[in-house]
Symmetry: C2
Subunit: 333 residues, 2 copies
């Protein structure tokens, strides 16, 4: 069967089964394939590692993206994975597969964008690889560690029935920003700047992830595939159901104004928000609200019904149909 028929998650499943069946090595691995980042312990502290790749024409369009934005985003998406574990990001390796006719100045811009967010996140660029390639492929691998005062890693598999489902910030802004650039929409001023930044320079929730782990949150994921898609990952790996109320999904006023008929779909399925989606009991959530300074919105609850399924209802409790289940790289939506 071809990879395009398997789909991204079918492929990840195939890889996970192959690795499990043929691994002969005992290891200090705590979290393996399938979560936001890997985790292991060989000494102290617990180590985290993640990697994400951006391919020209698939994840970005060279002509519509600044090199500095590309640098920022290629590190930001990795920071978001470490954030979703509750970890402290530390060292990045950067692999550039680029055509020979790329300008050196553009590479400097790329690194400046990356170093901008690295500096504000406490990350050091420690090495990497440079190779020639017909298409631009940027791969960042990022190491991190759990804070010394605890190694309560947040995973996708720890959601429990009765917990509240909550999310940081706003959803759909990144997809709205992409649509603004692609169509293109004649927007300007603060709204245009907000939407562009949401898509091209997302702000991963690193400090908030650490606060969550400290407050006792055990289950989190970053919103990269889209709210419904990522919540489905949690439901599948935790073997629980989820019920979310469409009216509660936080959408920024600029997005509602620019996309009055589509903002809910953007928020549910747009993806690349790099906000944190998590589950918690009421006490933990109340404690967390005191510690973080960005919006935290309760959007539903974990249930014991229909494991692996996300149910969407309106404010009257009526079921809402949905059109998409999020991004799948091998079945582009």
């Amino acid at each position: 069967m071809k990879v395009s028929e398997l789909g991204e998650f079918g492929l990840i499943g195939l890889i996970g089964r192959t690795v499990t069946a043929h691994s002969r090595t005992p290891s200090g691995l705590l979290i393996g394939i399938g979560d936001d980042a890997a985790a292991w312990r060989t000494g102290a502290p617990v180590q985290l590692a993640t990697t994400d790749t951006m391919v020209d024409g698939v994840h970005f369009l060279k002509d519509k993206t600044g090199w500095d934005e590309l640098g920022w985003k290629s590190l930001a998406v990795n920071l978001s994975d470490i954030a979703a574990m509750g970890g402290v990001p530390r060292y990045a390796l950067v692999t550039l597969a680029i055509p020979g006719d790329t300008e050196g100045d553009d590479i400097v811009s790329l690194y400046k964008g990356m170093l901008d967010i690295a500096g504000s996140s406490g990350v050091t660029i420690a090495g990497g690889d440079t190779v020639s390639s017909p298409v631009i492929v940027i791969t960042v691998s990022l190491s991190g560690e759990m804070p010394e005062d605890g190694d309560r890693i947040m995973t996708r598999s720890a959601a429990r029935p009765g917990e509240t489902i909550a999310v940081t910030g706003f959803l759909g802004s990144s997809a709205a920003g992409l649509r603004m650039v692609q169509q293109p929409l004649p927007m300007e001023g603060a709204a245009a700047a907000y939407l562009r930044q949401a898509h091209f320079k997302p702000q991963p929730r690193v400090a908030e992830g650490q606060e969550m782990a400290r407050a006792g949150v055990r289950c989190a994921i970053d919103v990269s595939d889209g709210l419904i898609g990522d919540l489905t990952h949690i439901c599948e790996m935790s073997r629980v159901g989820a019920r979310i109320v469409s009216d509660r999904v936080p959408v920024h006023p600029f997005v509602k104004a620019a996309f009055p008929g589509e903002y809910l779909d953007l928020a549910l399925s747009g993806g690349e928000d790099y906000e944190l989606l998590f589950t918690a009991g009421e006490t933990v959530l109340a404690q967390l609200r005191k510690a973080v300074h960005i919006p935290l919105t309760a959007i539903g609850e974990i249930t014991g019904n229909h494991p692996g399924q996300v149910v969407l209802v309106d404010h009257e409790g009526k079921s809402v149909a949905r059109s998409k289940t999020g991004w799948d790289h091998f079945h582009p939506g």
Copy 2:
């Protein structure tokens, strides 16, 4: 200036300067950009990390390489970097950028090849990323650590005048294997099997690297660009010169027999041998010979003359001209 004009090492220099100029973060970084792997200390043990990428049409030809060989080699080249630091490899993240029409069975073969060498090297595949791409790009990032009984990391910058230059195994076999497949040469039997394995399934010197660090070797690099090229890296970073005797360079009898007129050039500039090139005093070298069970050949000495330069002489001490300085991905030789 374009990347192709800068060349691979010009590009790495540009990146290194950009990172240094714009880094604001204090860090526990011990070894940064420019060595075989990065190293840092935030707890115990010292952590190592490296990454290497293989691009279809640049580093391999899909039609001439088995998927299992591709999996083996994509991890092996990273293992070799950890070996060159004297480290213990631990956890790998694997990023596959592949076209949608790739067969799932081929991906299973790729992982089996990777798991084969992972198992024999004590490495766990802990995660990664899968993305759609018009060209196959396989990126492995590998974490490791220094053994508990010491953190004497071997670097490229520690060679001292008077030390002997030595190398493990044989050089030129990988380039000979590639030439056999590309031309193709009508070879069979043990010679063909040896040459194919040398290029497609190289054996990184992980255990030997750890023995070197334990014995007191301070300077090592793995031979990926070619003997002259990699020794030049040592000379530049250590600010020393090197003098090697062409007749002493170890070449396998199969390679001499198959390429009677070219074997020295293959050994000097072929690259991708993944043997370890190192410098050591006579006492350390004698101790190391007792500990390892593969050939270790002394091929020359580090000098205080002509820093950054490698001089090649024959057994009478006469200078030998050389045609190439090794691989440069942006100026393919």
